[in-house]
Symmetry: C2
Subunit: 423 residues, 2 copies
Amino acid sequence: MSAEGASADLARAAAGAVSEARLGERLAAMAEIGATGRGGVNRQALTPEEIKARQLFVRWGLELGLEPLIDDMGNLFLRRAGSGGDAAPVVAGSHLDSQPTGGRFDGTYGVLAALEAVQALDGLGIKTAAPVEVAAWTNEEGARFSPGCLGSKVFADPGRLPDLLAVKDLGGVSVADALAAARRAVPEARRRPLGVPVKAYIEAHIEQGPVLEAQGKTIGVVTGIAGRRHFRVEVKGEEAHAGTTPPSRRRDALAAALRMIAGLERVMADPSETVRFTVGRLVVSPNAPSVVPGAVLFTVDFRHPEESAWRRLGDQVPEICKANAGRCAVTVTEISTTRPIAFTGVVRDTIEAVTRRLELSWMPILSGAGHDAENLALLCPTGMLFVPCERGISHNESENAALADLTAGTRVLGAVIAEIAGA
Amino acid sequence: MSAEGASADLARAAAGAVSEARLGERLAAMAEIGATGRGGVNRQALTPEEIKARQLFVRWGLELGLEPLIDDMGNLFLRRAGSGGDAAPVVAGSHLDSQPTGGRFDGTYGVLAALEAVQALDGLGIKTAAPVEVAAWTNEEGARFSPGCLGSKVFADPGRLPDLLAVKDLGGVSVADALAAARRAVPEARRRPLGVPVKAYIEAHIEQGPVLEAQGKTIGVVTGIAGRRHFRVEVKGEEAHAGTTPPSRRRDALAAALRMIAGLERVMADPSETVRFTVGRLVVSPNAPSVVPGAVLFTVDFRHPEESAWRRLGDQVPEICKANAGRCAVTVTEISTTRPIAFTGVVRDTIEAVTRRLELSWMPILSGAGHDAENLALLCPTGMLFVPCERGISHNESENAALADLTAGTRVLGAVIAEIAGA
């Protein structure tokens, strides 16, 4: 039997050993941590809730005989040794943090699917050639600390560590301070330096969009990730009395912000629905009913899969804000810039091959959401697979996915890990 | 000498006995309570800061031999007895609470000017026929508890007490609970029932607009108060992922709110600048950069001096919000409704006559801002006088007024009180 044949057999065995029951139990246990009243989770990065999730993750790893590791950005890894000594590991995972009113699958699924895949290898008594590591990246969501994908960003480019450790949340707490508590909570995890080589990275995730469900497909083989540009827009006007100040004398920061957003909406209008444009945060100061607003801060989240449109439309954001400022002052800061990423090569090919071999329905799909995989793609062969989520709803407490689909995705993941890590 | 001649002499004497130095010292002392870094005050109604201001006000009254009184809505009065026994008092005052980033003169000036006017009568050794009371009304600003002018509203219409005691701030604290602490802090104040008769009410205030300064006038004789209608608009959409959710599938509550506000701005546009339209508060939920907003709450502050336009334009607010809701749901609640008020009669006439007699420059002026006087006008002859404020800026930490103008207004106030209270 050829080596490829042996890997394919191993892959098929790994897929078969995946347990739907175990996966479902772990997903349910994790969903209790930071649970909201309405079925979702609030487990923002490095909060007490997310730290509890990290502790549970490490405990599960120790129970399976995996070695917990933590790096300088708080990224956690559960390492299963390979037969090939110090070979670079195959890494699979995602993140445990959530949006403030997030769902129970976003991120968590990719981490627990990878853990289940590793346990499936255990069940088969198989040692892969390369080590396998299950990763939980720090602050993927960007809800507490901006930008998102903080952990994988620094993993891919350790030179950014000092700047990104200094990032603060709205309450003034720095990443560095929040990390100290997170590290103390998992004393079993050995500290590992950044900059370790990785053989390949695979991430499983719910689609977070409506396409797979609408098309009736179980697996999305991800072709790439839309480029993103995030802006912070600060509008400065002048507080004034709502009853006495004539319109012509006002410097109303909210009125100016609304003109800016309307201008941006006109430019971003796209009948093909390829553009993604969102103002998700808007904060008014002093935010009192009878005071003309003196200051407004808002964010712009702009995404496009094509490099040229991503550049051209994104470049217009500061111009349009300035053109609509009226008597207010405006400062536009681009707080994160992520080029479009295309997944090509061995990981994507293996995901597709395994999916065919397991006779699952599938389609190629573009990710409109950012993922840690986009940073790993800068380091090593990388790919992602999606499973459907109900009504395409994510970043929402009512986010849902069918356990059968989640299990199918885990089978593919397990097989891909096994095949790439080698017999 | 006729009785009127005697009153006029008394009035002139009262005006002359007003002390600029004492007024300035009291304004400075009050400005230290809740002082912000930038010259303003944050002394929202019934907070520890405003309660400190109430204590200082009561202490000053006791030092002058005035009797402190407090009613069921926490309105404070310092009473100077008259020679006529239980006659209805002449009341003058304003409020000690402020906006979150408010100025040091808005409200406070009217209270301290009335206190200075009373001290001027003391200095002359004069006992007026009617008692004189200096009033500090509860929660005029409406910044902490909505609606504003809570204290004077209940004073004019005691039947509203139970409903308005139940109003809560954003933190869930009720007026009733906040009042309990305020009452404990001034044990010297005797409890007085609501519904006492008032002979006349006079309120001095900074203009909070640019007109007097622009016209070079010291005194504004207020002709009336613009009608106001305040609305709370609640927009309900659906949280969704900013990267994956196509525009046509979104129910973006912020985008809908912005369409509503743009629609309202079109209807409220008024080249004559008579309309006042302000969205001062807007709160987005969950307010995360990568989540399509699921809910937005915003306020509408609409004012107009003419009854017909006040009714017609205000009635359009709910319609326009509904017409622009798109795929979101919207609930519009009118949270306060104040008809336009015209000041006519003895108080306004006396303010004008005294101002002429003191040879101060003056003009008639409409108030775009609401004041406690609008509620007192429902009970008794009522009037207001304005003094200029710098650049028309108010509801702002940099609010400023010249002590000479403040003193001139206090002289007019003192003379009007004396003339109406009678020799």
